[in-house]
């Protein structure tokens, strides 16, 4: 029972950390311009 609880905590922590890192990586990827040459016309 105790082992199960530990395993549950370990899985939750690992998955949570990985998801947190992935969300941060998404912030990077989404902020990169889709087209490299962005022409701001006036």
């Amino acid at each position: 029972m105790k082992d199960n609880r530990r395993l549950r905590a370990l899985i939750s922590l690992t998955l949570g950390l990985l998801c947190g890192i992935f969300v941060h990586y998404l912030c990077y990827r989404l902020a990169i311009p889709a087209k490299p040459f962005i022409y701001v016309a006036f």
Partner: protein
């Protein structure tokens, strides 16, 4: 089947959310830490593998860290501009800015922040303005062609403007800010959405430092975005790619034709075959107006604009009248920059074909001449600013 799975048996929601927030916060902190470290201690110039062409967008943090590697009491000469100042056609060890640093002496440190295709006042310029705001002694040098002032927020490196701007690293300039706001408000303007998107990305990055962390990972360990120039090894860290000269075909008939067409188009637009008329006046008025919101007043006295001339081997294909027009245009372009309060000079008036490697990029001999031609004016500006005793 997944529906029947009892997730709570394997995952604790509270722990999962706590770990997610912790992981995200740790990445934000790591990004902030990356801003402080100099990733490229042997930096000479940005190249194809450390530039936007291969999806590598240098951040404000990286550029300022590179500048802060230099001793605080040195006068920083920040070089912007395009492939002409990037010496893209020469190997990095022949870079003209290293010759310039030697010519200037111990009181100066030169940083080459030019990029292939960079506008005169983007990229490197932003770093110079930010360093000036920090209280460093700065002289900014850039290159262009007559009548070209660039876009207000950049072209190739527009996201970098928002990186600097959203972090409050640039001088407060009401006119530039008003132009930016006008651009966002105007519905009919082209690329309004991209503009807003870049601003959002700039503000987001200010808090999460995602660009700073993942560019650093990409430079040091593993790059995650495919690009044409790094294919098929796109995943390799960018530090593993050697900076190499990008050779251009020269002299080839089709290249000569293209370059001549570009010169003729520019001359036509700004002189209309030498006649002064409403269209020409309008082109120069528009140029003068742009300079007022691209470069804040405080930066003008510490900026030098070099108008670089083309290879005489190319110009000999122009007619006598076209050559005279070209010369007149350089004189006029110089006058307009000087009138805006920016020291300007024409580079290459007496250069020979041996000083060029192609239509407008300098050879080793030419880069030596360029360094010696610019050392004097830079010292003069430094003296005028009271940087030198």
């Amino acid at each position: 089947m997944l529906k029947d799975l009892n997730w709570s048996q394997y995952i604790s929601p509270k722990l999962f959310v706590a770990a997610l927030l912790l992981g995200f916060a740790a990445c934000c902190w790591a990004g902030a830490w990356c801003r402080e470290i100099c990733l490229m201690p042997d930096f000479r110039r940005f190249n194809i593998y450390t530039g936007p062409y291969s999806n590598f967008y240098p951040t404000s943090g990286e550029m300022l860290a590179l500048a802060n590697c230099k001793r605080a009491n040195k006068i920083l000469v920040v070089v912007g501009g395009d492939s002409v100042f990037n010496c893209a056609s020469l190997p990095a060890q022949e870079l003209w800015t290293e010759k310039l640093e030697r010519a200037l002496g111990d009181e100066f440190a030169v940083l080459n922040f030019s990029f292939e295709g960079e506008e005169p006042f983007e990229g490197g310029y932003l770093a110079a303005e930010s360093l000036f705001k920090q209280g460093r002694k700065v002289v900014f040098v850039t290159d262009s062609q007559p009548g070209i002032s660039g876009e207000p927020f950049g072209y190739l490196l527009a996201p970098l403007f928002f990186d600097f701007n959203c972090r409050g690293l640039l001088l407060d300039d009401k006119q530039r800010e008003a132009t930016k706001q006008a651009c966002i408000r105007e519905q009919a303007k082209r690329h309004r959405e991209e503009f807003i998107e870049m601003q959002r990305a700039g503000y987001l990055n200010r808090f999460v430092n995602a660009q700073d962390l993942w560019q650093a990972v990409g430079y040091k360990y593993c790059f995650t975005i495919w690009s044409y120039y790094t294919n098929p090894d796109f995943w390799r860290p960018r530090c593993a790619f050697a900076d190499k000269a990008m050779s251009r075909p020269w002299p080839q008939d089709d290249v000569i034709k293209l370059e001549l067409a570009a010169i003729r188009e520019r001359n036509q637009k700004m002189t209309l075959a030498g006649a002064r008329c409403v269209a020409v006046d309008h082109a120069w008025d528009s140029f003068d107006f742009r300079t007022t919101y691209i470069i804040p007043q405080a930066m003008r006295s510490r900026s030098i604009m070099a108008l670089t001339k083309y290879n005489p081997d190319l110009l000999k294909h122009l007619s006598e009248q076209e050559r005279k027009l070209d010369q007149a245009l350089y004189r006029e372009g110089r006058w307009h920059w000087q009138n805006a309060g920016i020291k300007s000079l024409v580079i290459g008036e007496n250069y020979s074909a041996d000083d060029y490697i192609d239509a407008n990029h300098y050879s080793i001999a030419g880069s030596r001449r360029l360094a010696s031609d610019l050392a004097g004016p830079i010292k003069q500006v430094a003296e005028q600013l009271g940087y030198l005793p």
